[in-house]
Assembly symmetry: C2
Homo-oligomer: 450 residues x 2
């Protein structure tokens, strides 16, 4: 559609205006910016021709919009978020994070890819169809949140209340990546997760290791024993029953993954800066990353960590640990398994307490689902290449929530690239993907309405 | 000797003056106080009737003094230190740490017991004999340092140079404790130690656990694996060869330890604030504390330890670990064993580097040594109770250095009590022990000269 081509400079200016709003949800001093960003999105949706509003609640406002003029056609629910990560460390940015700058084929700004650029794709796709044809091929709803970077509690509570407003046939989530540049990609699976804090206590106060060493419990040593009991040296999780519900990828999916363009040396040495890859022996890399659960310790603290030597046996130590879950594992069951395994691994003399900080169910969609197939077709037509189906090792909890409470599959059609620096300095969005994303989403709606 | 009784109020005032000097060796802003404390000790020794001087070198001055008027008699080298620990946390002190206050039978101040009170005992014992008889029963030397709390590097280097000045038949070290109030105690064994830092690195930068979990090395997990490989759940050290040179206590020593007045419940629950004691199964408590080596982790740090959740696989993690050694283990050999064991336990994907921060050899003296026996007799006569022989789980590196470079045994005749709050707020010294300590040391010299 030529219309989209003609409006590229307008899209770029509009995106820049969106990116200039420092809508950082983790910092309370940005509350006014959060509201400005929500209003910006609402106004853009209204200008596009949808009925748009803010849904006010306990948290940051939700942006809701709808166009329901195609009664016999399916209804698509677009999801995205208008909040962004904090930009620090600021001194590593080549241009200021909230003064968007185009360099080469990319636009650099906090939120460029995650997720304002992709939200803007959705809005402009719908707008183009409405401006050129006066209608949409299917019914469309938008639900944008402003707390994705802080846990998304309030949108989850809202969706869990199953409001009639959210009734839909499928959700479209543009918050994932393409596997490689120019390679149209649909993500059909996400890992879930449970994030734990582990608190271990021994004596009531720190003890001198000369006087008490040999008799006193050591909470750091206890955490070491717990961690090495939960996962063996090879990366196998030793929590009883943990793998029982894990669904292996189909032979077809395994074959497709094996054919993905991938340079393991580049990935290991340049992208990760590591000497070698680790993980379960005999399991191929993408299966380890996408279709196998993990247990990782994210942080640990205890005792004396200043400069020099202090001979203390610490009274307490803590660790942050998560498990990533895959279909068909269940959050509740995995929490019980984890907690039981920690209890069994705790050595005598100390107490261990497990707290859950947050969790999200894993999700896996059948690639034969018609909404997924239509997405693959739209991408293929726009990018001129066959769409690949991948999964993601990360977690987008809203996808599990849509599945569970609205009963809809999520079509994860993302336009980010692996090097877009999400959550890092110099976040960028690839402009060719931005423009083609708008076309692809427009085409997607046309295919669904045909 | 009545002289000592008559001068008690003078001793108390002198000790207070010594304690008012905040000679904190770990804080460079106290350099002038360090010098004042050294000069104070030198002047006290000169006033007592010894030839006293400061030995200047790279570090804080050593205080040296001698009285050599008994050519046919043995020579005793008194050791002590005039520097003290920092007093923080200040708000937990009931009276200011450098404004000594007598409450009940105790004097409260930083350094009261460790070690100014005990240094003052030595000086006043010698002074009393010189003032009343005009001479000493044996030759006496003093060597006091001002860096004991920072590692004692410079005195070690000085002793290692074997200066003729330090020629002696035995050293007397008053820097240990009595096993219980009113129970005269000589310590015949000390654990040595090696203090390590362990640095583990995986990828070059922190990685997202969703994207890379299942492929990325995790340095915290690696430290957990190393720690649990080095020591098993029951407290047995698994470093190959580590126990090979460990000398078990004699049956006589074991019997004596079993007869020590001791309330395990009080020790566990009140003194340590622990639920139960840990350590090698089947090994009695005092043997675990005094005659068995240990491996303890003192501190660990890595990854995200702030509030809330961050799903990072950290690039690096560090731990501080020490091994306490017992006779006849050797520092150099144990470092090799430890380093080899860490290497063998390091999982793939990470590198582990071991650095030694400091070390000290273990020491064990024969209780039949005549200088030890005379010490036991002096204590027994002064306190009116049989002297017990114990060991200490802690480390006093100078004892090993005296043994190795001067060839002299150390008589560890200490007057501290287990609840004297060394290195903690409200450090105190029991005044009856202070006064009786002066008498006991005086009596010791008389016995040696008889």
């Amino acid at each position: 559609m030529n219309y989209y081509h003609e409006h590229r400079s307008e899209y770029l200016e509009g995106l820049k205006a969106f990116l200039r709003i420092p809508s950082i949800s983790t910092l309370s001093e940005h509350k006014p910016d959060i509201r400005r960003a929500a209003e910006f999105a609402r106004d853009e949706l209204a200008r596009a021709g949808l009925a748009a509003e803010l849904i006010e609640g306990d948290g940051n406002p939700l942006v809701y919009a709808e166009w329901l003029g195609a009664p016999d056609k399916p209804t698509i629910l677009f999801y995205g978020h208008y909040d962004v990560q904090p930009p620090d460390p600021l001194d590593e940015w080549k241009s200021p994070p909230f003064e968007p700058e185009v360099r080469g084929d990319n636009i650099f700004a906090r939120g460029a890819c995650d997720d304002k650029g992709q939200v803007y794709i959705q809005i402009k796709a719908v707008e183009g169809l409405l401006k050129t044809t006066g209608r949409l091929p299917v019914n469309v709803k938008f639900l944008l949140e402003g707390e994705e970077e802080t846990g998304g509690e309030h949108i989850e509570a809202y969706v869990q209340s199953r409001p009639p407003k959210l009734k839909a046939d499928a959700a479209v989530v543009c918050d994932t990546e393409m596997f490689a540049p120019e390679l149209p990609t649909i993500c059909i699976g996400l890992r879930g997760m449970v994030y734990y804090e582990l608190f271990v206590e021994g004596a009531s106060h720190d003890l001198h290791s000369g006087v008490y060493g040999g008799a006193a419990p050591n909470p750091i040593q206890a955490i070491a024993e717990i961690l090495s009991a939960l996962k063996d040296r090879d990366g196998r999780i030793r929590i009883p029953g943990f793998y029982d519900r894990v669904v292996p990828p189909s032979p077809k999916e395994r074959d497709a993954w094996a054919r993905l363009p991938f340079d393991e040396k580049e990935y290991t040495q340049n992208e990760m800066g590591a000497r070698e890859l680790t993980g379960e022996p005999g399991v191929p890399l993408f299966e380890r990353l996408w279709a196998r659960p993990t247990l990782e310790v994210h942080g640990i603290r205890g005792g004396f960590t200043g400069e020099g030597a202090k001979t203390v046996i610490p009274a307490r130590a803590t660790a942050k640990i998560s498990t990533r879950l895959v279909a068909d594992q269940r959050v509740d069951e995995s929490i019980r398994q984890f907690t039981d395994a920690v209890r069994a691994a705790t050595p005598r003399g100390v107490t261990a307490e497990v707290r859950v900080l947050h969790s999200g169910e894993p999700s896996l969609t059948n690639p034969e689902n018609p909404f997924i197939r239509a997405g693959a077709q739209a991408l293929q037509e726009t990018f001129g290449k066959e769409t690949v189906y991948i999964r993601s090792g990360g977690s987008i909890p809203i996808v599990g929530v849509f599945d569970r409470y609205l009963g809809v599959p999520s079509v994860m059609m993302g336009f980010g690239l692996p090097d877009d620096n999400l959550h890092a300095p110099n976040e960028k969005f690839h402009l060719p993907n931005f423009y083609r994303g708008i076309e692809a989403v427009g085409r997607y709606l046309e295919i669904l309405g045909a």
